[in-house]
Symmetry: C2
């Protein structure tokens, strides 16, 4: 275990804002002028504050600012920027909402950060074909607001109000994936600016068919490539009909095994459950304390069903039967939006409840505009989830500073075949104890994907090392059980060694070959994934 | 239009069995001995009959036999064969059941055909995780027979009893895809022997998680690559629970538009329809004549619903409401297997009914073992569909020779956004007339994918040219409507020009780069896709 205590792949954490890099970028004045010539002066910045704001995401990876930040307004400008940077050997880092969790935007070699948020048009909506084309600045919530009156929605929900193209780049998923699939299943086409500046339409320009067998699946190759192969400048997405009605349910179990068995049986019975989320008893206890609830302190499932009134009644009944058969109890369900919200309160507040496990008095909350706000815990705005990724309990917005120290959450992200969940969850709890760490567990159990939310004092290097060692051990446990080190957060900076162990030497070699083919100079978001 | 009359990309058709190539392969005796050293003498053949049997698939592409056929027994042998061939500059052609429709197995440059059908073990079944690992010789029907008592099934159904790894290689889909997705959605992992002989596990060795964000999606890259990047030697597939009950339904419409509108409305209402198939009035007329039925000669939908008894009742009721609202009539439904079969008889026999549009008296039916059988039409064994790909009306087994001439079916395969279906169907019917061709239309309308089954006398070069011109025109019509030239059959030999038009120069360049990276000598199934 001693070997694990190297500060190996993660780099040393430091609280963002205290970057060691100076404020001078390394780009020549002439190059910066060239950038301005492409996008206009107001859309280029080399200011230290701006660069630092773009040097980190929501993870604890050390802030590594780019040398300049540019805001293109269209794909043509992105192409010219890419060609300019690539020609000059300058690294290119795509930036969306900065809500990633694996350091995907850290400018490890400096370079130009291309912030795509000002390209935020919904370019085309085809309700009859269940498809929409969005620019990279469009977030999932903005899209769903736009769709509200159309009877359609985009279901992939990673928690954060991330940009849809960023979600495509990361291969995001979230709570709805058990029924609606991940980004991999819901991206029909991508417009990608290649490092050369050429524009690629992965399924062909303007194409928006539901299926195809035409040539290599380029769309699939770019989804999840984390900005290392090109810049996504538009995405054609598959939409789904808004369900006629929704029912939420919760229930408690005597053991993790009973909760997982229920999940398997629900899936085997072909109940089309829309969400099936697991919270462990530590998480439930934290939720009770934090949100003044009175839930059972036991392994708990949170479920949601979508369908017609009649279909829902049957789904709920079957689910309840299965749950009771597996020893579940305290089965509650709710139909109206407000009731559902109340029933799912513990799940919605899981992230903050986890953080509150470290007692303190003051909270520091980072808001959407990047500013930090200081407030007492009691002053946290409601609903908290409107601020960031809280609904599905991912890490993200909202490191809460307690007194002098700053407690941050770190989220693991392994995914295993569902039958192996009980053993890995038991092992994880033992590991938490062995590594003297505080952590809660919340999982997309229908997919076999779960997060252990660890509470970390980033000022304590020894604790950071224990967190790192724990996370690597958990990753390896998942690999030993036929799983993956990341179900939805991506590889980024921190999991490159685990990726090698996951896909093996030939897999890694193949990925490196693909990278070298599409980015021969290694300038597209360097240092990530591989 | 004159320009279309070149025998451009298809090569000239000729009825298989009359290959122009001699019986002597071009491989040295020493090389053949080396092949035998790998797999054993009984598993290598250079006999003309065997080579010719492996030089074509179910399409009308000219037979182009390999120089030798080998039957490896495991992936290790496949790796040694690949390394041997690649080292000597000998083309490698993977071969499954030979039920492809785009000439994917034609040995355009000769070489060694690697027949994978003797690797036919089901390696691992994990019912709780809804996954199975199969070798390339396992067909979809064999898998579903194996699964029968487990409450699980594999729903992708391209018609033919194809090998599952072949289906992965082609990116196959079929009638169930509207609900269960295509091969792209149902392959979790692939074992691939690369041209070098190295073994790649696209998601990592032994991994069988439902989702992952770990590195580039290599699985997605190999699904649909048509054997041009490597040989698939095992596939991990996602299984689905067998539905509790099944209901089939049919109904007739006054217009194509009404049938498509109904489909859109059914999907918008989130009715989880399992199959929704369209047959045009020519097809229905042919079915009536061929199978002595009395169906409405009108655009017709064939539907199937999967679910609980209670859910099905509601689905059928909603569907009927939608259909009646759109002017549909003659709504019939059936629950018991026999009744369903009767109701769907027209759909099941669509392929033979189409062929029967050219009157004749004698039939020649190619059976599973490759032998040809002569019989009168009336002697065709029942159920016909057990012989091949007939249930979903694809081309395939069963060219029927009428008297001296041999009539074959050729199936187009475009896919468009569903809202564009009515116009392309109307255009297609006009084109049939303009090109003086006989054809029926059958489609997976929920996906926007349809096939025009053309009846061709392969002895008539002028008619062949008209068929070719018609098919290319149809492909271009689909492209103009944001569609694809192939929804599920693949590019193979015949659609390479259309692929270029579909994905554009940058898309083609990117695909070529990927090919050159993974197959630098261009020996993996050469001449296909690119």
């Amino acid at each position: 275990m001693a070997g694990l205590l190297r500060p190996a792949t993660w780099g040393l954490f430091s609280w963002r804002g205290y970057c060691s890099r100076g404020t001078q970028g390394r780009l020549s004045a002439g190059f910066v002028e060239a950038l301005k010539a492409v996008v206009g002066s107001p859309h280029v910045s080399t200011a230290a504050a701006v660069r630092e704001q773009h040097g980190h995401d929501e993870s604890m990876h050390r802030c590594q600012p780019p040398d300049a930040v540019v805001w293109p307004q269209d794909a043509e400008q992105v192409g010219r920027l890419a060609a300019l940077c690539y020609g000059q050997g300058v690294p290119i880092i795509p930036f969306g909402t900065g809500t990633g969790l694996e350091g995907g935007v850290c400018a490890v070699q400096g370079g130009v950060c291309i912030n795509l948020t000002r390209m935020d048009r919904i370019l085309e909506l085809n309700p009859e074909d269940f498809s929409v084309v969005v620019e990279p600045g469009v977030t999932r919530k903005a899209l769903n607001t736009h769709l509200r009156d159309r009877g359609l929605w985009f279901p992939v929900d990673p928690g954060a109000d991330a940009s849809l193209c960023g979600m495509a780049a990361t291969g995001a998923s979230g709570t709805n994936s058990v029924r609606y699939g991940t980004m991999r299943d819901n991206v029909l086409n991508l417009e990608v600016v290649l490092p050369s500046g050429q524009r690629l339409h992965t399924a062909g320009r303007g194409r928006r068919f539901r299926k195809s067998a035409a040539g290599y699946n380029l769309t699939g190759l770019f989804v999840g490539s984390e900005g290392t192969l090109g810049l996504i400048t538009a995405a054609t997405l598959r939409l789904h009909p808004v369900p006629e009605a929704t029912v939420a349910a919760t229930c408690a179990f005597p053991t993790v095994q009973a909760a997982v068995d229920s999940t398997v049986h629900i899936l085997q019975a072909a109940v089309p459950v829309a969400r099936i989320e697991f919270l462990d008893e530590v998480m439930m206890d934290a939720c009770n304390r934090h949100s003044k609830l009175n839930c059972c302190v036991a392994p708990t499932l949170f479920l949601e069903f979508h369908g017609s009134e009649q279909a829902l009644a049957e789904q709920v009944q079957r689910t309840e039967e299965i749950i009771r058969h597996n020893g579940g109890s305290h089965f509650s369900w709710a139909k109206e939006a407000e009731e559902r919200s109340r029933l799912w309160a513990a799940r919605h507040n899981a992230w903050y409840a986890s953080l509150a496990l470290r007692p303190g008095c003051k909270g520091k909350l980072r808001l959407r505009d990047g500013a930090d706000t200081c407030m007492r815990e009691a002053e946290l705005p409601e609903p908290i989830c409107s601020l960031g990724p809280l609904p599905s309990g991912h890490t993200g917005r909202g490191g809460i500073a307690y007194g002098a120290a700053t407690t941050q959450g770190y989220s693991t992200d392994v995914c295993v075949p569902i039958s192996r969940l009980p053993e890995i969850l038991v092992q994880t709890k033992e590991d938490l104890e062995a590594w003297r760490l505080t952590g809660t567990i919340v999982g997309h159990v229908g997919d076999g994907n779960f997060h252990c939310i660890l509470l970390v004092d980033p000022e304590d290097p020894e604790e950071l090392l224990r967190v790192q060692a724990f996370a690597e051990q958990l990753g390896r446990r998942a690999l030993a059980l036929h799983g993956t080190c990341t179900g939805e957060h991506g590889i980024g900076l921190g999991k490159r060694q685990l990726l090698l162990e996951e896909v093996g030497a030939v897999g890694m070699q193949t990925m490196r070959q693909l990278k070298a083919t599409l980015d021969p100079r290694g300038l597209m978001n360097p240092g990530k994934v591989l």
